[in-house]
């Protein structure tokens, strides 16, 4: 286990390093520096600005300085607003984390329930209905889903309020973020549940006369849960990128909206910082879910 953990942590660190390198050098490849203006400013001012942001040094030195600052939590400042990026990220991420967290929790709970129901009613109408709906949900791009939900339920039927900052209504954003991972978890749970239900120890438990509910919850579901853990990492990644779309559609002032805006504004330091921040979150989520998976599953051996 220790060897595996070290290997995975090392891989994660290397990944984060590579991501920051790609981000930094990609952004540097864009022609024209941040202070390149149509009308050339006073050369002295230009030089002072470049010295202030270390732009006069060679690129590899800039990279090292950038990495050092990153480790201290200093992401630089936004070109558009001039604010500290670490402040922007901290503030906006709180909003995104709330919506994303609720969506993730709902996706896992509903996915497990639907998946178990589908497995237990195999080839009967609940199973067919659930599988049909989940197949449908994974076929709709999230921005179309979010727009249609907004149009139908908030603007036409007026069942739920439109999201606004003072009186936040999370129902529609959470639903649009949640449906894809929920469908995925449902399918995963169904197949692993069917796998488990065919095992000998389930038959043994039934033969002993254990109640059905106990067999399902204690013997079957607990084991069927294990493969779902591996999906947690990809789910976090999906929700973080999905939030860019969903937050923009519902005009929620989260990190996703900020990222899309920074791309349209060509605010390169902000794009860079947000990319690295989100990527690190995704890498950590994947690392944790892999480690927990190995920890929980007694059948896996470490070599």
């Amino acid at each position: 286990m220790l060897k595996y953990t070290i290997k995975r942590v090392l891989l994660a660190v290397v990944t984060v390093f590579i991501i920051s390198a790609i981000t930094f050098f990609a952004m540097n490849a864009i022609p024209g520096g941040p202070f390149a203006k149509e009308k050339a400013p006073d050369p002295a001012v230009q030089a002072a600005l470049e010295a202030r942001f270390n732009l006069d040094k060679p690129v590899h030195q800039q990279f090292i300085i950038y990495l050092k600052n990153l480790l201290h939590g200093d992401f630089g400042i936004s070109l558009k607003t001039g604010r500290e990026i670490s402040q922007i990220i901290g503030e906006k991420f709180a909003v995104s984390a709330k919506v994303g967290g609720i969506a993730a929790a709902c996706a896992v709970v509903l996915g497990l329930i639907l998946g178990s129901v589908a497995a237990l009613c195999r080839n009967r109408w609940p199973d067919r209905l659930i599988i049909f709906l989940t197949t449908l949900f994974v076929s709709v791009p999230s921005f179309i889903l979010a727009t249609i939900l907004l149009l139908v339920f908030a603007l036409t039927l007026k069942w739920v309020g439109v999201f606004d900052a003072n009186n936040p209504n999370y129902v529609l954003p959470v639903i649009s973020l949640m449906l894809y991972p929920m469908s995925y978890i449902t399918r995963l749970t169904k197949s692993s549940m069917l796998d488990v239900l065919g095992q000998d120890y389930i038959r043994t438990a039934r033969a002993k006369g254990v109640r059905d509910s106990l067999v399902i919850f204690k013997h079957a579901l607990r084991n069927a849960l294990i493969p779902v853990i591996t999906y947690v990492g990809p789910m976090v990644a999906y929700i973080l990128t999905g939030s860019m779309v969903v937050e923009t559609v519902f005009t929620i002032g989260g990190l996703g909206t900020e990222f899309v805006r920074s791309i349209n504004n060509q605010d390169y330091p902000l794009i860079m910082a947000t990319t690295i921040f989100l990527a690190v979150l995704m890498v950590i989520a994947t690392l944790l879910s892999d480690l927990v998976y190995k920890l929980v599953d007694p059948k896996i051996t470490f070599d």
Binding site: L11, A12, V14, T15, I18, I19, I22, T23, A26, M27, A29, I30, P31, T135, L136, V138, S139, V140, P141, S142, F143, I144, T147, I148, L151, L155, A237, T241, M244, V245, T248, V249, V260, I263, N264, Q266, I271, T275, L278, A279, M282, V283, T286
Partner: protein, 358 residues
Amino acid sequence: MTYNADKLPKKNLLSLQIDVKKFEKATDEEKAQHETMRESTTFFRDGMRKLRKNPLAMISLVVLIALVLTIIIVPMFYPYSYEQMITVNGKRDKTAKNLAPFTYSKNEQKAIEEGQKIFPHIFGTDELCRDYFIRVVYGARVSLSVGLFASLIVLVIGLLYGSISGYFGGKVDMVMMRIVDIIYSLPDTLMVVLLSVVMNQVLGNALKGSIVSKIGPNMISLFVVFGVLYWVGMARLVRGQILSIKNNEYVLAARAMGAKPGRIIRKHILPNCMSVIIISVALQIPSAIFTESFLSFIGLGVQAPMPSLGSLANAARGGMQSYPYKMVFPAIIICLIVLSFNLLGDGLRDAFDPKLRR
């Protein structure tokens, strides 16, 4: 002594030797019954039979074929173009703005009253007075080609890399797979966005005037990113398949007869893992279409005026309450394409995946 079954002596009372008298010879008719009941079937034919029995997969296949035929044939005779305003009597018709499906603009009404025939706007028109149906058709063309082409890139790179790594094994495999591990752990969507932002700036000027400039630097960067990042899944799949196949006796036999590695990979290993690879390609196409529509949404899609389904749906978000049909048509087509590929992929897997066969 001649052999006579009836007169074989019994060894002793408790002998298990069969008493032949109790049997009679099979008649020719009975023998005929034991002839093969059904003709022998190949792996491919058996899979196709299973696939044909799967109604969802067949419907998806029909839908896809119909869609492909539509987007190939319709632009050949359709009177409007995807990038130009509608013209009446050779003049630009500025009244044909945001028409609802199957309605005509004022100028067109006049022309009809004068006895001209005007082709109806099946999906209406957009805010720049262009026929919307042909734009959706072109959008579907772009989205489908992006999906197919991106999957092709993934297939070629993944296949080459995976087969080399899986076949040679040992140190080569270890190094190649560590590289795959690292690329696999990069968050792909973020990298697509990042590289699109950069390549948009870098390639923007370089591409001007060339053929590819029509689809724009964003699509080029999408392909590059697929070529750089998305092949790792395919490489892993191919490697796993090859590892399990290369230890079979027939591979050993081929090697004993002096076949070269290239021939063994081509003739013996790849045909055996083809089914799994085809399924994975079928499921890769919707994922590429999704990525394209996501990029269109955040403003990094195909170059205007070329439409894609994603950019059409995204452009329609603004006037959604007044013109919901502009959102609905491309949205339905995207969902139809993705759903069909998903169902077809599932059907192919049920029919061809050796692990699921009983």
